[in-house]
Amino acid sequence: MRWAATYHRPSDLTRALELLDALGGQALLLAGGTDLMVEMREGKHGGSHLVDISRLPELKLLELKDGEIHLGAGLTFTEILGSELLRLHAPALVQAASQIGSLQIRNVATLGGNVVHCSPCADSVPGLLVQDARAILQSRGGTRDVPVQEILVGPYKSGIQPGELLTRFSLRSASGMWGAFHKLARRSALAIARLSLAVLARHGDEGLSDVRIALGSGTPVPRRMVEVEEFLLGKAPTEEDLWEAGRVLASKMVEVAGMRASTVYKERAAQGLLVQAMMPLVRHGN
C-alpha cells in the first residue's frame, strides 16, 4: 500500500481553498474515502497530499430556497436518504441513494465524491441530471456554476480544475413530480449498475407535461435522454408508447456508446428497463 505523504485537515472552506490553491494538482480530496482508498491500494497517489474535507460544515448544506434545492457536496448518502426535504423535492435521487453500495458505504460516501469520480456507472448522477443539477465549483480565484453534465468529461475524467472544490449542487425542485430510479445489477447490494434509469414525470391535462429521463451505465458518461423525453412529452403514454420510447432510448444509447460486447444485452434491457420503470405512469390513466 502506497501511503500519501501528508495529511491536512482545513477547518473551514476558506482554508481548504487556500490549501488547494497551494497544492494544485498534488491535492487529493478525502471525503468518504470509498474511492480514494481503493485507488491507493492499487498503488496510485503515492506522495500526494491528502486534504480531508469530510468535516467542512459548508459542504453539509441542505436547503430549499426559491424553488431550488441546494445540496452540499459533502452530504453522505445516508444523510440524503434521511432527508424528508429531499424525498419531496428530489425523489429519483433519494431512490438512487438507497441502492448505492452498502450501509457502511452510504454512511461515509458523499454525493460530491460519487459525481467527481466520474464513473459511467455512478448511481447518483442520473438522479441529478433529471433535475438539471448544477455544480458549484469554488476556488480561491472565484466560483463557477456549471451543469453537472459538464463535469462528466469522460469515464473517470472530470472537468474540475486543480484548485477547485465542488461545494454544492443546485437542483430545480421536483416537488409534485413522480420520480423513480431503477438499477439493473447482478445482485441486490454492493453491485455496480449494469444499466440504470432515473425518471421524473408530471401529468398534465393532456398527458405528460414534463418528463425527464437520464440513463446510467449505458453510455461513457450518464446522460439525459432528451430524444426520449421529446417523444413522450404531451402524451398520456400507453404501453405501446413506452415500448417505442424504449426503442428510442436504446437506439440513442447505441449511437452514443457504439457497438460493444454488452450491446446485445443492453439494447434490449434498456428498453425493458424503461418500460418497467415508467409502467406506473400508464396505470395512472389518462
Binding site: 415500448w243 426503442r247 446485445v264 444485452y265 434490449r268 434491457a269 428498453q271 425493458g272
Partner: protein, 756 residues
C-alpha cells in the same frame, strides 16, 4: 440420547464472537518477518533468467529464495505431485510462484519483490481443454495434457437408447468459480527451541501440510509441526498448500519468525478454483419415464497443475446419473491441463456441475413425456438394493424418496397456488426441483481417520482429533459423539484439535467425510475407554456391566444410581493396575477401487441424498431472476447437531444461488472482490431446511454428512425454475442477466422491437 440430535453451543463460537486473535493473520510474533511471493505474469513460459542478487541487497530484505533453495523435493500435489513450490524452469499459469522474499516489513518486502529480475520466453499458451487435447498442442506437462480419464460403463447403452421412447441430448457448461471464503489465506511460522519448524496456518488438512512441507525441505516429518489456526472458511481451497510451503522454506533458511498473509487479490490470483466443466449428456427413457440409458462426456479444465483434478473428473463421472437407477451407462470424464488457473477441490468436486446437467435432463424428459417433474424423479429414485452406475448395491440408508416426499406438499402448493398468482405480466413465476446424491469420503481409496481419547488421573477426559474445523462444526460434532459415549457434557471435554504434534491424522476436511469417518474413529476410541471404565466399575460396584451406565463423569448402577463411582477414582484404580487410559480409534470406509476400464466398484460406503425446490421470479424484460423461496430436504442419516446441519444447508443454498445466478471467475479479469459477486443478505430468499434421517448403519449414530450435499441441488432447482417460468432453458452457468434475457427473447416473452 443426551448429546446426539442436540444443538449444543458451538465449540469455538465464543472466541470468534469476542474477536480473539486466533486466525492466521491475527497471530502476532515478535520480530516477525514478512513474506511475499513473486508470481509469474505470463501464462506459459520458460524462465530464461531469474536474478535475485539485487533483491537480496535491498535494505530490510533478509532472504530471497528460488527453486534452487529448496533442499528437499520441489514437487507437491494432493494426488499427483506435479507442482513445484517455486518454478523450476517454467511457469504454467499467471500466478505461478517464482520466488520468495522475506523482509523486515511490508515496504522492504515490496521493494525486494520489485528488484527481482525475471526474463521469460513465452510458450504457446492454452486456455481451453479442447485446444489442449488437439493434435500438436504444446505439452504443458511431460506426460501430455490429459491428466486423467475416467470411464464408467455398464450394460449396453446403444441398444437401450434404441428402445427409448424419448432421447434428450444437450450440452451444459459451467465456469471457473472462486471459493470466496471470507478469510484470505494466512499463516505464521517460528522455530521451536529444539529446531522444530512450527507452522500455524489456515488449512483444511494439517497432516497433509506437515508431510508436504517435510518433503519439500528434506526433513523428517516430526521436525515439522503444523497447527491449524482458526480457519475462516475453506470450501476446498485450503486443501492445497497455500502459505505453508513458503513459511516452511523461509523458516528453514532464516530460522526467524515469519508470516505470510495473502491479500484478497493474491487469493484470487493464486489459489485453486472450481473446475469449469463441459458436459455433453444424452439420456434415454421409456414412455413411462423410466430411465433406460445415460451417456455423457465430461471435460474438466484442471488448469496448470493437477491438484484434485483426478478426484473431480472421477466424481463427476460416478455421479452423472443423478440419484436414479439407470441400467445402461456410458460416461467418459476427462481432466485436462491448460494454462488457466489451477482448478482443485471445491465443495462438491464436480457434482454441482454435473447435477446441473442431470437435473436439467430430467425436467426436459418430463416435459417431453408430459410427466410431472416430481413424478419422474420418484419413478427413478435409487432405493435400498438399487444398483448404481458403478455396480454398487446400495444399503439401507437411501433417503432420496423420503426427500421427494418431504418436498411434495411444498411442490404442489407452489405449482397450484403460488405459481399462478404472480401479479405482473412481465415477471413470470416458475418452480423447479433439483435432486442429488453424494458419496461420502474419498472415492474408492483408503481415507481413514484416527482419534484418541485419554482419561487422566483427575478424571478429566481429553479428546484428540486431527480433524480440521473450518466453520462446518466438526469439532462440536465429534465432541458430542464423545460426550454421548462417555456420558460427559461436551463442554467438560478437553479438546486438542488439528495439531500434528499432538493429534494423529484424521484425513482432510473434505468430501463431507469428517462426521462419518472421524466420527466413527472417535466413537471407537471412546467406546474402548468406556469399556475400560465399565469393567473397572463393574468390579468396584460389584454389578454386571450391562446394568451400568456412564453419566456425569461417573459410572453408576442404573438400578440404584446412588451407587456410583467417579471417573477420577476409576482412573486411579486403572492406573495402579497398569491399565491404559489412552485409547485410539480408527475408521476407514469400506470401498473398493474402481475398475480402470469400466469404473465398476464401490467408490463410497455411503451416500447422502437430497432434493431442493426453488420458487423463482423471472423478469422477462431484463433477465433479472429473484429467488423467492427454497425448500431443501436433505437426508443426512442422522443430524447429530440439527442447527449445524441447518446452518450448512442454509449456507450451501447461498453458495448454490451464487453458482446459479451471479458467480463467474474470469481468469485475467476477476481481480478483486468487486469483480466477483457472492450473494449478500439481500439476495437470499426464504429458505426452509428439512432434515431427513435415513440412518446409515455404518455411521456414528447413523450419521452420514451434509457439507457438500447442501450446495449441490440449489443451482439445478433454480435453473429448472427459470426454465419453468420461461419455457426456455439456460444451458450455461451462471444464469446471469444476459443469458436469462436471451432465453426470454428466445421464448418470445420480449415483445419484438427492432432497435435498428
Amino acid at each position: 440420547m443426551e448429546w446426539i440430535s442436540r444443538s449444543v453451543p458451538r465449540i469455538g463460537a465464543l472466541e470468534r464472537l469476542r474477536g480473539m486473535p486466533i486466525f492466521g493473520g491475527d497471530i502476532q510474533l515478535e520480530d516477525c518477518l514478512v513474506l511475499r511471493v513473486l508470481r509469474s505474469h505470463r501464462p506459459h513460459a520458460r524462465i530464461l533468467e531469474l536474478e535475485v542478487e539485487e533483491a537480496r541487497k535491498i535494505q530490510g530484505v533478509e532472504g530471497v529464495f528460488t527453486a534452487r533453495d529448496i533442499p528437499g523435493k520441489n514437487l507437491i500435489g494432493l494426488i499427483t505431485k506435479d507442482q513445484p513450490l517455486l518454478a523450476q524452469d517454467r511457469v504454467r499459469f499467471v500466478g505461478d510462484p517464482v520466488a520468495l522474499v522475506a523482509a523486515r516489513d511490508e515496504e522492504s518486502a515490496q521493494r525486494g519483490l520489485e528488484a527481482i529480475r525475471v526474463r521469460y520466453q513465452d510458450l504457446p499458451a492454452i486456455f481451453s481443454p479442447e485446444e489442449a487435447l488437439a493434435e500438436g498442442a504444446v505439452a504443458i506437462h511431460q506426460e501430455g495434457n490429459l491428466l486423467h480419464r475416467r470411464v464408467v460403463r455398464k450394460g449396453d447403452v446403444a441398444s437401450a437408447m434404441e428402445r427409448a421412447a424419448v432421447v434428450v441430448e444437450r450440452t451444459y457448461r459451467t465456469p471457473h468459480i472462486e471459493h470466496a471464503y471470507l478469510e484470505p489465506d494466512a499463516g505464521v511460522g517460528y522455530l521451536e527451541w529444539d529446531g522444530t519448524l512450527v507452522i500455524l496456518a489456515s488449512t483444511q488438512n494439517p497432516h497433509y501440510d506437515q508431510k508436504e512441507v517435510a518433503g519439500l525441505l528434506g526433513l523428517q516429518e516430526e521436525k515439522v509441526r503444523v497447527i491449524q489456526a482458526a480457519t475462516g472458511g475453506g470450501f476446498g481451497s485450503k486443501l492445497d498448500l497455500t502459505v505453508q510451503g513458503f513459511i516452511g522454506l523461509a523458516l528453514y533458511h532464516l530460522g526467524k519468525p515469519v508470516r505470510l498473509v495473502f491479500s484478497r487479490e493474491e487469493a484470487y490470483l493464486a489459489t485453486p478454483k472450481r473446475h469449469p466443466l463441459t458436459i455433453w449428456m444424452r439420456t434415454g427413457a421409456d414412455s413411462t419415464g423410466k430411465l433406460l440409458a445415460l451417456q455423457a462426456r465430461i471435460v474438466c479444465d484442471t488448469g496448470a497443475y493437477s491438484s484434485y483434478g483426478v478426484a473431480v473428473a472421477t466424481r463427476a463421472a460416478i455421479h452423472a446419473t443423478g440419484p436414479y437407477q439407470v441400467e445402461n451407462v456410458e460416461v467418459e470424464s476427462l481432466a485436462v491441463y491448460t494454462n488457466n488457473p489451477i482448478a482443485g477441490a471445491m465443495r462438491g468436486f464436480g457434482v454441482p456441475q454435473v447435477a446441473f446437467a442431470h437435473e436439467s435432463q430430467m425436467d426436459i424428459l418430463a416435459r417431453e413425456l408430459g410427466m410431472d417433474p416430481l413424478q419422474i424423479r420418484r419413478r427413478n429414485a435409487l432405493q435400498e438394493g438399487s444398483s448404481t452406475a458403478t455396480g454398487q448395491k446400495l444399503g439401507s440408508s437411501v433417503g432420496i424418496l423420503e426427500c421427494l416426499e418431504a418436498l411434495e406438499p411444498h411442490y404442489r402448493e407452489a405449482m397450484s397456488s403460488w405459481k399462478g398468482s404472480g401479479d405482473s405480466r412481465y415477471v413470470r413465476r416458475g418452480v423447479g426441483l433439483g435432486a442429488m446424491w453424494y458419496g461420502i469420503g474419498n472415492t474408492g481409496v483408503q481415507n481413514p481417520s484416527t482419534a484418541r481419547v485419554e482419561l487422566d488421573e483427575d478424571g478429566r477426559v481429553t479428546l484428540f482429533t486431527g480433524a480440521a474445523d473450518m466453520g462446518q462444526g466438526s469439532t462440536t460434532v465429534l465432541a458430542q459423539i464423545a460426550a454421548q459415549v462417555l456420558g460427559i457434557q461436551p463442554d467438560r471435554l478437553r479438546l486438542v484439535v488439528a495439531d500434528t504434534a499432538r493429534t494423529s491424522n484424521a484425513g482432510a476436511s473434505s468430501a463431507s467425510r469428517q462426521t462419518y469417518i472421524s466420527g466413527n474413529a472417535v466413537l471407537e476410541a471412546c467406546t474402548k475407554l468406556a469399556q475400560v471404565l465399565l469393567t473397572e466399575a463393574s468390579d468396584l460396584l460389584r454389578a454386571p456391566k450391562d446394568t451400568l451406565l456412564l453419566k456425569g463423569e461417573h459410572v453408576a448402577d442404573s438400578r440404584d444410581p446412588q451407587r456410583r463411582v467417579s471417573f477420577m477414582e476409576l482412573a486411579r484404580r486403572a492406573r495402579k493396575k497398569n491399565i491404559p487410559l489412552s485409547w485410539q480409534g480408527y475408521f476407514d470406509p469400506e470401498t473398493t477401487p474402481l475398475d480402470p476400464e469400466t469404473g465398476q466398484g464401490i467408490p463410497y460406503a455411503t451416500y447422502a441424498f437430497a432434493c431442493q425446490l426453488a420458487q423463482v421470479e423471472v423478469d422477462v424484460l431484463t433477465g433479472r431472476v429473484s429467488v423467492r423461496r427454497i425448500v431443501a430436504a436433505h437426508d443426512v442419516g442422522r443430524a447429530v447437531h440439527p442447527e449445524a446441519v441447518k446452518g450448512q444447508i442454509l449456507g450451501g443454498v447461498a453458495m448454490g444461488l451464487g453458482f446459479a445466478l451471479m458467480e463467474e471467475f474470469v481468469p485475467g479479469s476477476t481481480a478483486s472482490m468487486k469483480d466477483y459477486y457472492i450473494p449478500t443478505a439481500r439476495d437470499m430468499p426464504e429458505v426452509l431446511p428439512i432434515i431427513v434421517e435415513a440412518a446409515e448403519p455404518s455411521g456414528p449414530f447413523g450419521a452420514k454428512g451434509v457439507g457438500e450435499p447442501a450446495l449441490i441441488p440449489t443451482a439445478p432447482a433454480i435453473l429448472n425454475g427459470i426454465a419453468d417460468a420461461l419455457g426456455e432453458r439456460v444451458y450455461a452457468l451462471p444464469a446471469n442477466l444476459e443469458r436469462v434475457l436471451e432465453a426470454s427473447i428466445r421464448a418470445g416473452h420480449f415483445p419484438d422491437r427492432e432497435v435498428n
